[in-house]
């Protein structure tokens, strides 16, 4: 595991950059655990102060210090992304491995359901959920809903790998040795799909955080919970750019671009690592 990591850092500049960017964001986000005040409180500082030695990122029109506000927002958004990614990974691994290995009608039924989930447009449904739940829509509920929609592409990918593993020698040995289906899937096949799971994990985080931002800037989430999206929502509803509080928009935008680029680069370099051909090309072999 460690040597893989070392090779990636040594030969893959994208991975290194991505790792650094995500690392900075994780450190920044975890600072909110040491925040001197509750990030949901307003009018705790002088409003509309530009960045200075006292207020590193300035303060917004709601009297919040942007540094602590953004730190909490990124913590919440990253945790949200991780929650969605973990939950939907569990579904996609289960469905993908079962469909690929068991085959037959199990495969057909699962893939039929999969096709439906691929084709159902998720955004109107999310809006509908918000419309119906309103004040009960907390971020965990939203994570659950997103996880229900975030698995189908990756399940297909895992299924295609599992289909290949099914006919390999070691699978037959395991079956003849009397291993149960569950054991074959968990102990024999799961390690082979783990690299794919890591790569899709990043992609899924990107997707879910992006969805949250999309919903939040329209005001379709709990807007009092600081997240990347709600920070933008408030900045926009106070017309921050027009009244000249530029740091309220510019600083979050820079941080968001850093986060998304970092996660994206990690996902890309992981994908590349999984494909041995491109790995060889990169190492100059």
């Amino acid at each position: 595991m460690f040597s893989v990591f070392r090779d990636l850092v040594r030969y893959n500049i994208e991975f290194t950059i991505g790792l650094i960017l995500v690392g900075i964001m994780v450190v920044f986000a975890s600072m909110s655990f040491f925040a001197p005040m509750d990030p949901s409180l307003i009018y705790m500082a002088i409003p509309d102060q530009p960045p200075s030695a006292q207020y590193w990122f300035g303060t917004n029109s709601r009297g919040q210090e942007l540094f602590w506000q953004l730190s909490a927002a990124f913590k919440n958004s990253l945790l949200f992304g991780i929650t969605v990614a973990v939950l939907s990974r569990i579904i996609s691994i289960t469905v993908g491995l079962a469909a690929g290995y068991i085959g037959g009608w199990v495969d057909r039924v699962l893939m039929f359901v999969n096709d439906i989930f691929v084709a159902v447009p998720i955004f109107p449904i999310l809006v509908l959920f918000y419309f119906v739940l309103r004040n009960n829509m907390d971020s965990f509920t939203m994570a659950l809903i997103l996880a229900c929609f975030g698995w189908p592409f990756d399940a297909r990918l895992i299924r295609s790998v599992a289909l290949g593993l099914k006919h390999r020698e070691f699978t037959r040995h395991a079956v003849f040795a009397g291993m149960s289906t569950r054991k074959v899937l968990l102990e024999e096949h799961l390690p082979y799909v783990m690299p794919i799971v890591f790569a899709t994990f990043m992609n899924n985080m990107l997707w879910s955080i992006g969805m949250e931002v999309t919903l939040a800037v329209l005001g379709f989430t709990n807007i009092n919970n600081p997240t990347i999206g709600t920070v933008l929502y408030w900045a926009n509803s106070h017309s921050a750019m027009v009244v000249g509080v530029w740091w309220w928009i510019v600083i979050p935008v820079i941080l968001i671009v850093m986060t998304f680029l970092g996660l994206f680069l990690l996902a890309v370099s992981m994908n590349e690592y999984i494909d041995p051909r491109s790995r060889l090309r990169r190492m100059g072999a």
Binding site: F112, D115, I116, V118, A119, V120, P121, I122, F123, P124, I125, V127, L128, F129, Y130, F131, V132, L133, R134, F153, L206, I209, G210, M211, V213, T214, V217, L218, G219, F220, L232, M241, I249, V253, I256, V257, F260, L261, L263, F264
Partner: protein, 334 residues
């Protein structure tokens, strides 16, 4: 031909299943919700005028009969489907008594026009540039283009739209940043109106194109750089086939097949993009309608927009899927 019909039939069944499950899910979400459409309407009515308790009671009765909320679940579910199939989802609450479907139909040409053109432009530019970048791997221009396109791609759509708004709204105001057409023209099929519509659609379309470009670029470049190493390409080059024929006819053409499949998936996701576009650029369309309806608590309009968008996206994916085997001989043979 027979196998193609079989394929098309299977896809059609799937389309119907998607619409059926999508719309059913919508019904159950709203059925199980604590929001009662009757109380919603009553709340709006009594907020506007002073109703006597008797009037409220009789209105409630009439509305309950209209929405059928007192009936058992399966009857309501059945009624819901008959209304959906007739294209009638009740009167809009925020523009009472305009039917919600009429509002949707008014917004649809704007959304479809913006969505279809920008998706088409993105597809063409992204694939051509990606294909060329995959073929001419050491060309500086394509490399630079790739870095820019890939850098924009992972950024959330809203941010890109907002940056465009800042640039063209405040720093370099040459294009209209809001609305579907100018205040000085009247909506009619005249040249000034059409020009105004085109002018107003430039920035929203630009934002959609910028965000979508990277995905196509990366996909096409990867596909082409794999195809370039195939024997038949080397063979054609050695045999002295014209460069343009090799790139266009042999390499790009073959790489395009999986990209067409990807088009179906992109269409599915693009709808959420247009909602934000319409909101940011204040563009008339289904997205703005949906946002207004949610904020106004307009029950029937929200349902109508969701039903139409689910049907539209599923149908678009269906059409792309039908085109796929016509391009790919391997699928046709199956």
């Amino acid at each position: 031909m027979h196998s193609y019909l079989w394929f098309a039939g299977k896809r059609l069944l799937q389309l119907l299943a998607v619409i059926f499950f999508g719309v059913s899910a919508m019904f159950f979400v709203t059925y199980l919700s604590p929001i009662d459409p009757v109380e919603q309407v009553l709340g709006r009515l009594s907020a506007r005028s002073n109703l006597s308790p008797e009037a409220i009671a009789s209105t409630r009765e009439a509305l309950t009969a209209m929405f059928g909320t007192d009936q058992p679940m399966m009857t309501q579910y059945f009624n819901f489907w008959t209304r959906v199939l007739r294209g009638d989802l009740g009167a809009s609450l925020m523009a009472f008594p305009t039917p919600a479907m009429e509002l949707v139909m008014r917004g649809m040409p704007w959304t479809l026009g913006l969505l279809l053109t920008s998706t088409f432009i993105t597809f063409v530019i992204g694939n051509v540039m990606g294909g060329l970048a995959g073929y001419f791997q050491n060309n500086r221009f394509f490399k630079a283009f790739g870095i820019v396109a890939m850098g924009i791609q992972p950024i959330p759509y809203y941010i890109v739209a907002f940056i465009i708004l800042i640039i063209f709204g405040f720093l370099w105001p040459v294009l209209p940043i809001s609305g579907g057409f100018g205040m000085d023209v009247r909506p009619a099929l005249t040249l000034p109106f059409i020009l105004s519509v085109l002018q107003h659609s430039l920035l929203p379309a630009l934002s959609l194109v910028l965000v979508g470009l990277g995905g196509w670029f990366i996909g096409m470049r990867a596909l082409v750089s794999n195809i370039v190493t195939e024997d038949y390409v080397t063979y054609a080059e050695l045999a002295g086939v014209k460069r343009s024929t090799v790139v266009g006819g042999y390499v790009m053409r073959n790489a395009l097949v999986p990209q067409i499949t990807a088009l179906a998936m992109v269409i599915g996701g693009v709808f959420s993009g247009t909602i934000i576009t319409e909101q940011v650029f204040n563009y008339p369309g289904m997205g703005s309608l949906l946002v207004d309806a949610v904020n106004a608590g307009d029950y029937s309009t929200v349902l109508a927009v969701c039903t139409v968008s689910i049907t539209a996206v599923a149908t678009a994916i269906f059409i792309v899927d039908l085109l796929h085997p016509l391009l790919d001989p391997r699928v046709r043979a199956e």
